[in-house]
Each structure stands twice: as C-alpha cells, then as structure tokens.
Amino acid sequence: MTRLVTLDQAIFTLSETGTFGPISWQLESGQKWFIAGRNGAGKSTLLGLIEKGGRTRSGEILGIPQAVVVVSNAAQVELVDRERRQYDGGDDTLQGTSVADLLKELNPVERVLTELIQRFQLQGLLDQPFRQLSTGETKKVLFVRALASECPVLILDEPLAGLDAASQAVALASLSDFIGNKTVLLVLNDWTALPDWVDHVAYLSDSSLSYQGAMDSAAARAWLQQMVVLTNATQRLPVPLPSSVPALSAEQALVEMRNVRVRFEDRQLFDGLNWRIDPGVHWQVSGANGSGKTTLLSLITGDSPHCYTNDLTVFGFKRGSGESIWQIKQYIGYVSSALHLAYRVSGTVESVIISGFFDSVGVYQRATAPQKSAASAWLALIGLTHARQQPFAQQSYGNQRLVLIARALVKQPALLILDEPCLGLDVFNRGLVLALIEKLIQGRQTTVLYVSHDHRDQLPSIQQTLRL
C-alpha cells in the first residue's frame, strides 16, 4: 500500500465565514473507506475536498489524486448540465452525446464495460443521446462508466440513489465483482446495505473525523447502528424503578473526606486531602499514573482498607461505624477496566445487567419482573437487545464494557463512578462509551465521577476537576 492522500490537522476555508476541519486522515491506495455521519455532518464536503483539493487555512493536505471518478448526485447533475449547455437550442439534428460515446469517455476497461452494459441492460440505449434518458437511466450510465473506468480512485456518494431496487442489487453485485484494488470512498445513508468489501470506517461529526480506522463491514454495520441509537437525542434514559434503597437528603454531601492520609510503604499518596461531592455536581479526576486516582475511588467504594482508617462519610455513613459494605455500594454504580477483568463469571448479557441491582458479580438472588424489564430497557438504550440471552463472555470487548456501564446504571445510583471507562477500547468502542456517558450526564439523574488520563476522552459537560 502506498500513501495516497494525507490530511494533517487540515482546516479548510469553505466560504467567507465557513471552515471545515480540523481533519487528520491518512488514505492509502487500495483502501475502501466508508464515510459515516449524520445528515449535514459534511460527508459530501469531505469527498469534494479529496476530489478537488481545497484552500487550507491551516494544516496540510497532500497527495490529491490526479484522476478521480465520482458517482454522486452532483456528478449526475453536472453531466446533464454539460449536455444541456452544449446542445440545447442548437441544431435540431444535434441530439447530444450518445450513451455509447459517453461510456467511453473515462478510459474504460473494455471487458468490464461490455459486462456492465449487459448487466444493466443498456444495449438498447447505446445509440440514444444521453439527454434523452430518464433520471434513473442517467444514473446507471454514470455508475457504469465510473466502475468500468481504469481510474484507480473511485468516489461513491450515495451511488444507489435514484436506482430502482433491481438496479440497486445489480449495482452492489457489480461493485463486488469489479472493485478490485481501486481506492474507494463510499457514502451510503443506508448502511444496512454496506458492502462486504469495505475495510475502513470514518465517522464525521462537527466537521471532523471523530472515529476512524480499519473495520470489516459487518462490525461497521453493528457499530453504526449503536452509534445512531446512542446519539439519538430523542431517546430517553429508562425510567428509574421505585427505589428500595433509603433515600438520601438533597442537601447532604454524597461524599465527604476530611484530612485524608494514605501511605503505601514508602510513598505518601494523600496527605491531608479534603474533598466534598455534592449531589448533581459532576467531577472529573485527573492525574498521572500512580497519582492515586484509583485509590481515591476505592476509598469511596469501600474497596480500600484505608476507608476504615480515615475520616470519611459516604452517603451519610461515617465509615467504620457499623455499616456494611453493601449499604455503601447500594448507592454506587461503578465501572472500571479492573471490574471488567474481574467480571468473569458465566452468565448472559441480561444477567450481567441485573447483577447491578445487587452490586454483585454474578446473580445470586431472584430478580423481580420490574428489574428484568429495566434491564431490557437499558439493553435497548445501548443497542444490544438482540444479545439479551447471549453469553456475556462472547460479546465484543467494547460491548462488554457498554453492558457493564448499563449494569452500573440500572439501579439509577446516586453516584456513578467511571474509572477509565475507555481504557483498552479501540477508537470505535470508545465512541460508543463516550456517547453513552454524555447521555447519562444529560439525563441528570446521577452524579458522575469520571476518571481519565487520556485527553481524547475528556467530557465537555463536566465542569469540576480534581487534579492529583
């Protein structure tokens, strides 16, 4: 593979006021990218920049290909316009370029062209002038001449639009058969039709590529489906069950640490730390590896023995005054990569979510019908309804993490602790997890305590930061 196009922090000027980017992207020859994003995210703009280049305000764009063949609505309109400009209003006998001539314009590979003409049943149209074709027929011609072309770079922006169902099927099959080692950029709103030959995915949002990387098309389909679910603003968090846990007063701090000291053998981790977490105030905890982030959290969850040797009040319980750890945990939802590693009991996806009601790893108590339906609602929210009865261990790593977050949330805890929830996840799964967390913060039912040392995973909605 050789490098084709490189965008390095490129910001493009689109108009007097409009810019696009920044985008960093490495496109190698032969790769087949699927470009996804919501309507208006700028997919066509991006394709246009790769096709023709653009004026950068900052950053760089290198290696705009010499020749690109495009199938898009814009290209269709452009061709129709060209014919109209050249031949309209002239001599009546001048009917414009014939379909046969048009098909030969882009240096076709003869064998492929002949085959495609047959597949799309264009034989009868070859001698007709292009301008006399129906809209659907012009799209077929555009598609056939693009795919038959020797040109190694192919941009397909909604290539199936305007084709009837039968022709769409022919188009998809022909792509599979003749795509070869072309470099392809594909935009397709209906990703359930995502072709198998797609090997890379990029996700555009706010005019930059939030996620990009290699992914086979089946995984991409499932991922995109979940992204849509998770970023759907109208989808609400499930309604909380009537709580079986004693209510907390709204004025009372969730956590209050006074003069906390923790020492590990030769190292003083905390020396006089004071910290108060009030309901509704989200916190981000940052700090280098080893700065004590996880220890701090474990003081709250009760997993550190130092919670018994410090002045610590959690959910109204002064620690070490006869409360049990389960009285503490009932108010906490907790996710970390350590929990993920520890969650190795066998069970279904549903049972993992239900275990959140009992703060257990595995389920050892009978779940009620409302608890089961709450679990189902959370499964729907994370787009995994189909996996309800599947073994947890057989889910992808990213989906396991989503399930664990749903487990932490199913009881709508007063405090949600997310300790590096994206650790170990690839860029795509990270996208899913962050989208889910944003949704929770907007849901306003849970106070979030979020730990991450990765600047890519900052959450704009969290205002308070504790730096260790």
Binding site: D303, S324, V363
Partner: protein, 490 residues
C-alpha cells in the same frame, strides 16, 4: 490431653459423626445482628485470618487482630498483613481481654500453645471460635467451662473466601457448636452471625459437629484431595515419559490437566466429567477406575481407620515433637521428582485434549472421589460432609497444582493435609505399581486414536447407569443445586 473423640461413647461418637444438616436461608435472616457492637479479635493473620477478618469488617463488625509480641516486634508477614489493611493489632495481653469473640485462625500445629496462652486472658463468658476442630477433637483441648466454643469452617482457601465475598456471594461453610462448651446456649447464634459475616450464608451452610468436621476433613485431604492428586501426578508423568511422550508435554498435561478435568466435575459431578470423554474413552476410564478402586480400597479404609482411632493424629504429633523430620524429608523428596522439575511446553493444549489424552487422570479422580466418599459414609459420616470433603474440594486443590505443581499444593494446604498427603503417597505408589505396568500411552498422553467411536449400546447404558447412580452424584446434585439455584435464575 486425650483424644476427645476416643473419650466419647460409641453412641455419642456416632451421633456427632452423623451430624450434618443443610440450613435454610431463612435461618440467616438476622445476618450479623447477634455480633453487632461486639468486639471480635482474630488470632493470627495468615490467609484464613486476614480474609475472614476483611469480610467480617466489611459486614459492619468490629474486627482487630492479636499476634504474639515477637511477630509484632519482628514485623512478620502476619503483622504486615493486618497493619497494611488498616486493622488494629496488639499482643495477647492488650487485645484478648477486650474480646467478646476470639477467632483462633492460627495453623493447627500452634493451637495447643496459642489456646494455652489466650484462654486465661479471655473475658468471662466470651466465645472462642475455630475454623478447624483438630485441636478440640484430636488433641482433646479442654476449654474453660464459661467459654462458648464454636467452629465456622469455610470450605475454601482464604483467598477464595474473600473473592467470593467481593463478588457478592460466599463459599460453602460448615458450622458447629462444641457440645461440651455451650454454657449459655448462644453458640449457634454466634456461629450463624459469624458465618453470615464471612458471606458463607449465601452459598449454603451446613450444621455439623466438631467431630464430623475433623474426621471428614482429615480423610478428604489426605486421600482424594491431596494424596490422590500427588500420587496421580507422579505416576501419570512417569508413565508418559516411559512411553516416549515428550516430557514437556507430559508435564503440562498433568499440571493443568487436573484443573481442567475437575472444572467439569465442579459443574456437573463425576457424571459430567465422564461425559466429556468420547464413549469408548468413557468405557475405558470406567474400567480403569473400577480396577483402581479395588486395588486402593484397603488403603482408603486404613486411612479412615487411623483417623478414627487417632493413630493418624498421634503419629503426626510425634513428628511435630521431632521437628517435623518426616514432613520435611517428604517435602524435599517431592521437590526432587521428575514431574516437579520438568518445565512445561509452550505449546497449547486444547481444553478437550486434556480429557482425550488424560483418560487415566479422569479415572483416578473418579476412583478417588468415590472411594473417599464410600469410605467416609461407611464410617458414619453423613453424605453432605463426605461430599464437601471429597468431590467439592478437588477443583480447589487442582487449581493449586495448576499454579505451581505439587510444591504449590503442599505449601497452600494445611500442615495436617500435607502430612497426610505424603503418608498416602508413600503407600499408594507401590500399591498401583503393577496396575501401572500394564498401561500404555493411549490412556495417558496420546489418546485412544480411534477412527471408529462406536460402542455397544447395552454396555454404555449400564456404565452410564453405574456412574449416575453413585450416591456421591445424588447428594452432589442436591448441594450444587443449592449453590447454583440462584445463578440459574436469570
């Protein structure tokens, strides 16, 4: 001190041996309430001591530790364990007089001297608890009559006791009240609250007796659990090498084989373990197990008899007096065995292959479990006890071998188990010698290698019937049912 069991009438012996009742969950509804506000002091901070203490504290109880002054001064591991976990630690004089409940979680060997030191310091009407009854039953320790004496014995290593608690579950646990020391009739209430504090009530609690716990525990650990796995490891490895199997492969097959095949045992008993074999392999394993049971039965009976008469414990205590001369000699010998010293291959062995190539190992587990169970129940021990002390614990011991072979197993198990294990091993190796001579690598190391997996229907039905109708399978199904009933709900 005289062996307590031997002082009992036959009638009382049988009554205590036969005590083992599965307690219903409703008996634990009050949780740890009986111990709330009481002061619990743990003596010793090894694996059981530390992990039980962590669980009890997380259950809302007041836990601190006491150690000998020398352990504190020298900052021994037990001291570091307690201190680094934020517990208060003090010497016997400081801590014992404050305690309402003293948990003696020191090694068996130290019990006599520990109890002699702490007993005079204990508050009037306080309670002394054990997790193993050797001191009371075998050494015949007499405890001050105002003190209540109970036992709460989690049937897992201490680390497992903690891990299961953190998962929100627990480990199966035996509890008992020493009939001679229950002056206020509150022994059972304390034992139940203690068991609930360790999380044991979630996984099932058996009401047992000191006698039943000790006699069944000793029998299980020295025969099927540690003894059979040790003897089996040595025999299987040597046989494979003798038959030309690559030593590194043989080493791996044995080291991880026990763990893999007994995982099947854990989930579905002997039946499921045998069902993991192909039909011809199952028939073969069945025959081998029958043959071994016949050869080894007298040995199992001898172990049971020696345990019942007290010969075993007096022999071991003599060795204690003799600076563990025998124990240390045997330990060294084990560390020098070819199996122990041969590094394992890097090549992967598939899970199913451990069964297919380990037919003899499967047969050894079957023979050992069934023999131990049959011998114990024939001696008056109830099926529930016999199950927990045989089949239930095999996977737990197998895990230790998977970690670091026999060395790890022998350093993890109790000192009584280790002594008994060597005793068994020395008798069992020559006993099985002739039997082993007749075997080829098809049953250990290579697999049957059959293209035709056909068997006779009538023979298979008869063998399946034999496997499934063994009494250890019936009780196992019931007891595993209690443990997994909850897990299977959703």
């Amino acid at each position: 001190m005289a062996n307590y069991f031997n002082t009992l009438s036959l009638r009382a012996q049988l009554a205590q041996l036969g005590q083992c009742e599965f307690m219903s969950a409703s008996e634990f509804e009050d949780g740890v309430d009986h111990l709330r506000g009481k002061k619990i002091v743990v003596v010793g901070c090894g694996s059981q001591g530390l992990n039980q203490g962590l669980n009890l504290r997380d259950s809302g109880l007041d836990v601190s530790y006491t150690l000998r002054q020398s352990a504190i001064d020298e900052k021994r591991q037990s001291f570091l364990n307690a201190e680094s976990n934020g517990f208060r630690v003090g010497n016997y004089q400081e801590m014992i007089p404050t305690a309402d409940l003293v948990l003696n979680l020191t090694p068996d060997k130290q019990h006599s001297s520990v109890v002699a030191d702490i007993e005079p310091l204990m508050k009037t009407n306080a309670c002394l608890a054990y997790s193993h009854g050797f001191n009371i039953v075998e050494e015949g320790q007499k405890i001050r009559p105002d003190l209540t004496v109970i036992m709460v014995a989690p049937k897992c290593p201490g680390t497992e006791v903690r891990e299961e608690y953190k998962r929100g579950f627990g480990v199966p646990t035996l509890i008992a009240v020493h009939a001679d020391n229950d002056p206020h009739g509150e022994g059972l209430a304390i034992a139940k609250a203690y068991a609930a504090g360790t999380g044991g009530h979630r996984a099932g609690v058996l009401m047992s007796s000191f006698v039943a716990e000790v006699k069944s525990d000793l029998m299980g650990e020295q025969t099927i659990l540690c003894g059979m796995l040790q003897t089996g490891s040595l025999l299987c490895f040597d046989k494979m090498v003798d038959k030309g199997i690559e030593p590194a492969y043989a080493s791996k097959l044995v080291q991880y084989g026990w763990e893999t095949i007994t995982e099947a045992l854990k989930h579905g008993g002997i039946t499921n373990m045998m069902d993991r074999l192909s039909n011809p392999a199952k028939l073969r394993a069945f025959e081998l197990a029958e043959e071994m049971k016949q050869i080894m039965r007298p040995l199992y009976e001898k172990h049971m008899d020696d345990i019942m008469t007290g010969n075993f414990s007096s022999g071991m205590m003599t060795d204690w007096q003799n600076d563990d001369a025998k124990l240390l000699g045997w330990r060294h010998e084990t560390s020098q065995s070819a199996f122990e010293k041969t590094a394992v291959t890097d090549a992967d062995i598939l899970e199913q292959t451990y069964f297919d190539h380990g037919i003899l190992m499967v047969a050894m587990v079957k023979a050992g479990v069934e023999l131990a169970f049959e011998t114990m129940t024939a001696a008056g021990i109830k099926a529930e006890s016999a199950y927990y002390e045989s089949l239930h614990e095999v996977p737990l011991i197998a895990n230790t071998i998977a970690r670091k072979k026999l060395f790890e197993m022998n350093s993890t198990i109790s000192d009584t188990a280790e002594y008994g294990c060597y005793l068994y091993n020395h008798a069992c190796l020559p006993l099985l010698a002739d039997f082993m001579t007749g075997l080829e690598a098809d049953v250990i190391g290579r697999g049957l290698g059959l293209n035709d997996l056909g068997v006779d229907n009538q023979v298979l039905i008869a063998v399946n019937q034999e496997i499934r109708s063994h009494p250890v399978e019936a009780i196992g199904q019931t007891l595993r049912g209690y443990m997994t009933a909850m897990k299977a709900i959703v």
